[in-house]
């Protein structure tokens, strides 16, 4: 049946290549994308969680062209598969309304799913790299649909960088351990050197947009189709972290690094990079006016927390990191889909041009609100439990640099959250003529919000899900019941929070019982009934340049960032290439001189 799943995905991908209608392609993709999800649900039985049984075998050897591809599911791959593949059906449901015509999104998305399924199942590095390249190629074509040069070039450059780093890492691993099979490499782990580990971690860090290697993300996230970006940010970044998890903990790279440096300095550095990613990503996010770029920077920030968890590496931190990965997959997909829904109705991306959308699109607003609560880790969604675990891990390890930076990045998240809520959904009502998003879009968004609420009340379920992954990777697990998490420092009872909230809401509600009121539009309110004359003047909108005072203080320190570094590198390479081109003058005298100089150099070298 595993072959069947691959076959269905590929056949659907080729079939949708020839279908013009976006609607039919969406239905085909929806059904095809449910196939890997069925397999994932079935495999839950293997990892101590009771689920339905469909009888999908969990390993397969697939001989092709003289090479055998080894595929089998492991506990940590399963955890990542759960989060990646449950995103897909809602995203395709959303795409049903989003795409009138099939512009190439559906076939390449299906190739992408095939590739991700392969990556998560691969049990040797050749298979892994084959599917990794399939993923890079198909996602590159999905970026190409945007026809934005900056996005395409940056994605291509960084994909190639990532592939090269990983390939060199794999080659080193092969030369050191003499095998490509994961199980054999783990047995020969003492022969693996530090360079291979660092190269591979850096390669995966590109996909997960960790800070110095994040430069592609703002361009790609802000230009490609929204449903794809939702998967790119929610799903594909986690595939990068899957690779990192595998190299650091299953191989186990963290131990090798620890032995080589004789201290935890290398993994501590990863944690610091993650924390700085979270911090600077947050600062850049709340100064951004483009909704999609804001979400891109927020993505970089939120993914930074996962790297902090991986860097700390204790059971508490790993539980937090995987929890955060899961939450991020869902809330960031919702937010990108919300951005897509808003753009579908209004055609605008700039926060300063939007406003008042929430009054006309209340369900979209509700979905965005819950996603933002999760993003800002407000304790009425599951977003808080993940961050709480990470903070606890950092404090209990006495990391005096990482902890405050992470906490202040958490506060910064409120700032850009409010910018989205106010600038897009509340405030001045500039859109009297729009309707609520179509039903499939709303259904897709709310399906993705659902896990955030379930795991709020029962974070224990999530910890059960990652239990075998953490135990198999030799990290260990933390003590918890269904709704209480205990650490060495404190405990967190989600049920107390939820019930306490409901109970205190009763007196608050009683104080506040309202009679029938007249609804007053803001135009009758602060404009005192005057006609809305400055309509269209963006500079009059309060959401324009919203955080100007703080921007003026912070921006001078952030101007020399990574993106300006890469731009400078790009320009310098252009100049060097341009200078080297000048030796082709086209004059035969010059070429004669080159030959003579070359001759003398050879002679001189021979004499010396």
């Amino acid at each position: 049946m595993l072959e069947l799943i691959f076959a269905v995905l590929l056949i659907a991908a080729f079939a949708t290549l020839f279908i013009k209608s976006g609607r039919i392609a969406a239905i085909i993709s929806l059904i095809a994308s449910a196939m890997p999800l069925i397999a994932v649900v079935d495999w839950a039985n293997d990892f101590g969680i009771k689920a339905f049984s469909f009888g999908v075998e969990n390993s397969m050897d697939f001989p092709i062209a003289g090479i055998t591809m080894h595929l089998s599911i492991t506990s940590f791959a399963w955890f990542f598969a759960v989060m990646v593949f449950s995103l897909l059906p809602p995203i395709f449901l959303f795409s049903y309304s989003f795409f009138e015509k099939n512009n190439g999104f559906f076939p390449f998305m299906l190739f992408l799913i095939t590739a991700v399924f392969g990556i998560l199942l691969a049990s040797d590095f050749l298979t892994f790299f084959f599917f990794w390249e399939l993923m890079a190629a198909s996602s590159f074509i999905l970026v190409c649909i945007s026809r934005d040069k900056k996005a395409i070039m940056s994605y291509l450059a960084f994909s190639v960088l990532s592939a090269v780093l990983i390939l060199v890492g794999i080659a080193l691993l092969y030369s050191q351990s003499g095998t490509l099979l994961f199980s054999d490499i783990v047995l020969n782990a003492d022969k693996v050197t530090v360079s291979a580990i660092i190269l591979m971690v850096a390669g995966f860090a590109v996909k997960s947009a960790l800070m110095p290697l994040h430069a592609w993300a703002p361009f790609v996230y802000s230009k490609a189709d929204e449903p794809f970006v939702a998967f790119l940010s929610g799903g594909l970044s986690k595939v990068g972290y899957y690779g990192m998890f595998f190299v650091l903990f299953a191989l186990p790279g963290a131990k090798i690094l620890h032995q080589y440096f004789n201290s935890g300095v290398a993994t501590y550095l990863l944690a610091v990079i993650g924390a700085i990613s979270a911090f600077i990503g947050t600062l850049l996010a709340f100064m951004e006016d483009d909704l999609r770029k804001l979400l891109a920077y927020s993505s970089i920030a939120q993914l930074g927390y996962i790297a902090v968890g991986f860097g700390i590496g204790s059971s508490l931190a790993m539980a937090g990191a995987l929890f955060q990965a899961f939450n991020h997959a869902f809330f960031k997909s919702v937010l990108f889909l919300v951005a897509g829904a808003v753009a579908y109705r209004t055609g605008k991306w700039k926060i300063s041009e939007l406003g008042g959308v929430g009054y006309k699109m209340p369900f979209t607003f509700m979905a965005a609100l819950f996603a933002i609560f999760a993003l800002a880790a407000i304790p009425i969604t599951s977003g808080f439990a993940a961050k709480w675990l990470l903070y606890e891990a950092a404090v209990s390890n006495k990391y005096i640099f990482i902890t405050p930076i992470m906490l202040i990045a958490g506060v910064g998240a409120f700032l850009y959250s409010f910018r989205i809520l106010y600038g897009v959904f509340l405030g001045e009502n500039r859109h009297d003529d729009i309707k609520e998003a179509p039903l499939p879009m709303i259904a897709g968004m709310f399906l993705l919000v659902l896990p955030l609420i379930i795991f709020l009340i029962f974070p224990g379920y999530m910890l059960d899900m990652m239990h075998s992954a953490l135990v198999d990777a030799g990290i260990g697990t933390i003590s918890h019941t269904n709704y209480v998490i205990r650490t060495g420092m404190a405990s967190y009872n989600t049920l107390a929070v939820v019930i306490g909230m409901m109970v205190v809401m009763i007196p608050a509600f009683l104080i506040y019982v309202l009679r029938k009121q007249k609804k007053v539009d803001f135009k009758d309110n602060f404009l005192a009934g005057e006609p809305y004359e400055f309509y269209g003047y963006i500079s009059m909108h309060a959401a324009n340049n919203f955080y100007k005072p703080i921007e003026d203080v912070i921006m001078p320190y952030l101007r020399k960032g990574a993106i300006s570094f890469y731009t400078a590198l790009y320009n310098a390479m252009g100049r060097v290439s341009d200078a080297s081109r000048k030796i082709y003058t086209g004059l035969s005298q010059d070429y004669t001189i080159y030959i003579i100089i070359f001759f003398f150099i050879i002679v001189g070298w021979l004499i010396w």
């Binding site: 209340p362 304790p379 009872n493 009121q517 007053v520 309110n525």
Partner: protein, 312 residues
């Protein structure tokens, strides 16, 4: 046992809210005395809230505007449940200081949503200022919080209070510095001068409150009363031993601890008011620089001091 606990929690929360409303009146009286005015009576807060809540409200700006303030009131009461008051733990064993930090964001975000929904640009500017202030004062505050957590090796506020039975945190040298920093952060949290930037009445028409009236304003005043109690109690719990002076479980101990807690939060609040009356208002970028340059540096010195004490 459970019923008893629920009764204690309900009693303490109600008292805390009343104390907050009382403090609003007392605060106005103190400010008036500093200004050499007579000032309103100390129970003015009760009069105001009773008046506002019994008013008929005819105007609304949509469901977000209405529900956001409900959210605010709920959030602030929920936060009080998770803070030990006079050594009585309430629900504080079920969460920790990080939870309290994030619970305090619920009322703030609710208030911000309501202000945003009113559509008034002044409200939006006020919320922007409040959020930037939040970013500013949280940095020194979380650093001092982490210093406490590392020193007492726990992140639970109830545990921190218990550990201070022998010696209040403020009697330990590095925490004198930390408490001074946290007190200035408290000034920002309570939105008192020089950090009353977000509600600056003369600049942006009271900022976020611009469009609220009647019941909405009454709810907002209850929220404000709650924040006074929540933030001062947080400070007292962290640095002044939560006001616990007697450790046996007798009724007298409950009363004595409660009285000491009341006196301590009153002193903290009065100190904040005296600073408020003596200083003019900062601009927002000045406040930001003040917190992130000087306060954060001092806080970090105390953190490193504590860290060296703990690892040696």
């Amino acid at each position: 046992m459970v019923v008893e606990k629920i009764a204690v929690i309900a009693l303490y929360t109600t008292i805390a809210m009343f104390v907050g409303i009382l403090f609003m009146g007392v605060g106005r009286k103190i400010v008036a005395r500093v200004h050499n005015r007579v000032g309103p009576p100390v129970y003015q807060g009760f009069i105001d809230i009773a008046k506002l809540l019994t008013k008929k409200t005819n105007i609304s700006h949509g469901w977000i505007y209405d529900l956001a303030l409900l959210f605010s009131m709920t959030g602030i009461m929920l936060t009080i449940l998770f803070l030990p008051i006079g050594g009585v733990k309430l629900l504080s064993m079920e969460g920790d200081a990080f939870l309290v930090l994030y619970l305090l964001a619920i009322p703030a975000l609710g208030f911000a949503l309501g202000a945003g929904a009113s559509g008034n640009p002044n409200a939006a500017i006020g919320v922007m200022r409040a959020l930037v202030m939040m970013l500013s004062y949280e940095l020194p505050f979380v650093i001092t919080l982490i210093a406490l957590m590392i020193y007492y090796d726990t992140s639970s506020i109830a545990q921190i209070v218990e550990m201070q039975h022998a010696k209040w945190a403020i009697m330990i040298p590095p925490f004198v510095l930390a408490a001074a920093v946290a007190d200035m952060a408290l000034q920002g949290m309570l939105m008192e001068a020089p950090f009353d930037i977000s509600t600056a009445p003369h600049e942006i028409a009271s900022g976020p409150m611009a469009e609220f009236g009647g019941k909405h304003l009454g709810a907002l005043m209850i929220y404000k009363a709650g924040t006074i109690v929540a933030y001062t109690t947080l400070f007292v719990d962290l640095f002044l031993g939560g006001g616990v002076v007697m450790h046996d479980g007798s009724v007298l101990a409950y009363l004595a601890n409660f009285a000491v807690w009341f006196i301590l939060i009153f002193l903290v609040f009065t100190l904040s008011l005296l600073i408020n009356t003596s200083f003019p208002r900062f601009r927002i970028e000045q406040a930001f620089k003040f917190y992130w340059k000087y306060e954060a540096l001092l806080a970090f010195i105390s953190l490193i001091w504590v860290y060296l004490m703990v690892i040696s």
